[in-house]
């Protein structure tokens, strides 16, 4: 791996190496820029470092303290927050879906949210680039949206939870498909196909998972990028003219400063605004890139409620990737809804402590909990990924508490809006129909889970109403960029990782073009 001296001003210092930062580090290095990618977490070697154990693998999560409040306080940590080189993709469920084209202009075309400053046809090309880079396994023909080519690798065999959902959908005449998923269904290089050990969300120990760690980052190193792990960036520095000069970071017990011509913030929707706000200075007293006042605002999760039940048959929900069957029906159908936005839902495999806590959240303990868990192998579920609306009151701010580095921790405030609640009600009813039609009984709703986080540094066409432009470049500071889920103006009704990676690929192409014109 290349190594740069702190004193050498690199072309790009990228803070965060997940779906946004890791992808961008690869593409920029391949375009010939000097790149250092910083990550607060370690650079794991999954074959040697990952155990087959839920409790042990919590080492993959961001477990520094954060404070949550609002009417619907979020669950962070294992739920949505990674602390590893490769970011949350090290423990993501690999679901790789494209946006519905209209979502890029949801304000103009569908009447809600905010328009993206990018065109879906351009994004369609970048989606294809990412799907090929990850060898996404999926169906030959996708049932929704404009034409797309067959997925690079064939779809996976369905596990029992996916078969249950497929049965339910078939019985109701609801379209479904094997989920496009970023784990290998055939060999690739030295990696063998997925062995269906079912522990995707605690880290894949066989490297079948096509995370940023196993796809973009090996390419980044090959192209000359440096990935500096266990390096916590505390503050972005600027000169008297207001141009960024580099980043302060903590590594090996000491504070250091890396000089850089450009800094990209890619810490995901909590750490990105936290770093921008923690970098406030006399020139930028409200934090960097914050003349709009929008840094930290419009935090969007996705509603992630579920319907669970029991089946007579053996389901054994620990086998295979968790979400192998999918319906996007309610993303593409606009009639029959009393809410804006869309949602998909997926079959849901589940590991023991996760399911036990689902039961605990509905109030079970003592003998009723033990008995419910004794039916683990007959448990089946479907889970929602629902589009939540942007609201300025849902936001990341700085708390008074400080972390081990002496930095103010994030306070994350979240409340569902009325539209979000109507969607959840609608989705729970639809999922119940499917579960009942699948033959599951004794159904119960998991009512309070969320997934993913986006939107705290939104992109747009108006500097007064957005933090970055379509190129992910800060309006206020020309050599400061944000490239992760934070830039989403809306979140859509699908898992965001494919779109984050597609935006990173587009950003790299734009940076290359701007550099060629001398406009960096």
């Amino acid at each position: 791996m290349a190594q740069y001296a702190d004193s050498e001003a690199v072309d790009f210092a990228i803070v965060g190496t997940g779906a946004g930062g890791g992808t961008l580090a690869c593409k920029l290095a391949e375009y010939g820029f000097s790149v250092v990618g910083f990550d607060a977490g370690p650079y794991w070697r999954p074959l040697e470092d990952f155990a087959s154990d839920e409790r042990h693998q919590s080492k993959l999560y961001w477990t520094d303290e954060r404070v949550v409040d609002g009417e619907d306080p979020l669950q962070l940590g294992s739920n949505n927050s990674g602390r590893s080189v490769g970011g949350s993709t090290v423990h993501f469920a690999m679901v790789s879906l494209r946006f519905r084209p209209e979502w890029f202009k949801s304000r103009s075309l569908l009447g809600y949210g905010a328009d993206w400053p990018v065109d879906w046809r351009e994004m369609w090309g970048y989606y294809r680039e990412v799907e090929r880079a990850l060898c996404v396994s999926g169906p030959v023909t996708y049932p929704w949206g404009p034409h797309r080519p067959a997925y690079p690798y064939r779809e996976h065999e369905l596990n029992a939870p996916a078969r249950a959902m497929a049965q339910g959908c078939e019985a109701l005449g609801l379209k479904w498909t094997p989920t496009p998923i970023a784990t290998l269904s055939a060999p690739r290089g030295q990696a063998h196909p997925c062995v269906y050990r079912g522990m995707c969300v605690i880290g894949c120990s066989t490297n079948a998972k096509q995370s940023v760690l196993t796809t973009w980052l090996p390419r980044a190193l090959e192209a000359g990028a440096e990935i500096r792990d266990l390096a916590m960036v505390s503050r972005i520095e600027h000169d008297d003219a207001g141009r960024i000069t580099g980043v302060h970071y903590h590594r090996d017990g000491q504070w250091r400063f890396q000089r850089a011509r450009n800094v990209v913030v890619a810490g995901y929707a909590i750490e990105t605004p936290r770093l921008l706000l923690n970098s406030a200075s006399s020139r930028f007293p409200d934090g960097l890139a914050n003349s709009s006042g929008l840094v930290g605002k419009n935090l969007m999760v996705q509603s992630n409620q579920a319907v669970w039940g029991f089946m007579k048959q053996d389901v054994r929900p620990y086998k295979g990737p968790p979400s192998l069957a999918l319906t996007e029906h309610w993303n593409y159908a606009d009639d029959g809804k009393d809410f804006f936005g869309g949602y998909c839902f997926m079959s849901q495999g589940v590991l023991p402590t996760t399911l036990a806590n689902v039961h605990a959240k509905r109030g079970l303990w003592g003998q009723p909990l033990v008995e419910a868990m004794q039916r683990y192998n007959h448990t089946v579920g479907v889970k929602l990924v629902g589009e939540c609306m942007p609201q300025e009151g849902n936001r990341v701010t700085l708390a008074d508490e400080r972390d081990a580095f002496g930095l103010p921790v994030a306070r994350v405030t979240y409340s569902y809006g009325d539209n979000d609640k109507r969607m959840i009600t609608h989705a729970l009813a639809s999922m119940r129909e499917v579960m009942a039609a699948a033959g599951a009984g004794e159904l119960w709703d998991e009512t309070n889970d969320t997934a993913h986080m986006n939107g705290t540094a939104r992109m747009g066409e108006d500097p007064a109403a957005s933090v970055v432009n379509a190129d992910c470049r800060a309006w206020d500071i020309p050599n400061l960029w944000v490239c992760d889920g934070s830039v989403f103006p809306t979140v859509g009704g699908v898992n965001p990782s494919l779109t984050i990676q597609a935006i990173a690929c587009r950003t790299a192409d734009r940076i290359k073009a701007l550099a060629a014109r001398g406009e960096l």
């Binding site: 940590g77 029992a160 249950a164 062995v195 522990m199 620990y318 303990w365 003592g366 033990v370 994350v412």
Partner: protein, 217 residues
């Protein structure tokens, strides 16, 4: 309820292709936890916590070495590690447990004139239910919402500890560690020979026979 997976012992797979070295190390450490070790909690807190754990997760009395839930919690408290988030109405992990245990003990003394650990199971359940429903009101809670402590801290930590223990995996028929070997048979009612066999009416003996072999497959 009888044993659903008679004779199934996930640890018998320890030397099978379903376990690798790093998993063996992790599980060995968990099994080596001294059930009486408490470095964070004092004697009274420890007795109360043990009593709480046995109400939240009643383990079979026949179990020679029950899953050491209280010791697993104490170990976590020694480390002091966060989950990565905390409701703004709750204090940090250590303070929340200290205050929550003290409050349940105080509730027991006030309502029953005895310590929590000395009460009958039904009385203990009554106090836990009151906390769960937010009805506990002793000043010892000191502003910490009892329902939030119960859901986010007490229940979450104890349940997470138990279902991380091989005893629980045996009880629910979980395949356990699965690396490098995963699974082949994914459909309904299909079981790989290295998975637990479930006893259904009339086939208890054959399930027991199958389960005796899971570690040799």
């Amino acid at each position: 309820m009888g044993d659903r997976y008679p004779g199934y012992d996930v640890l018998s797979k320890r030397h099978s292709p379903s376990w690798n070295d790093q998993t063996r190390r992790v599980i060995d450490q968990r099994l080596a936890i001294d059930p009486d070790a408490h470095r964070f909690l004092n004697e009274l807190e420890w007795r109360t916590l043990k009593a709480i754990c046995s109400r939240i997760i009643p383990q079979p009395t026949a179990r020679e070495r029950p899953a050491p839930l209280a010791a697993m919690i104490d170990e976590r408290l020694v480390k002091g590690a966060s989950d990565g988030y905390r409701n703004a109405s709750l204090p940090p992990l250590r303070e929340a447990w200290r205050r929550g245990i003290a409050a349940l003990e105080a509730e027991a003394q006030t309502r029953h004139g005895r310590g929590f650990a000395e009460l009958e199971g039904a009385a203990q359940d009554g106090l836990l239910t009151a906390a769960q429903r937010g009805l506990a009101a002793h000043p010892a809670w000191d502003g910490m919402p009892p329902d939030l402590f119960f859901a986010d801290r007490l229940l979450f930590d104890i349940v997470s500890a138990y279902y991380a223990h091989p005893h629980a995996w045996n009880e629910i028929g979980f395949g356990g560690p699965a690396d490098p070997r995963g699974y082949v048979r994914l459909a309904f009612d299909r079981r790989d020979p290295w998975e637990a066999a479930e006893a259904r009416s009339g086939n208890e003996a054959s399930a027991r026979r199958e389960n005796a072999h899971v570690g040799r497959r």
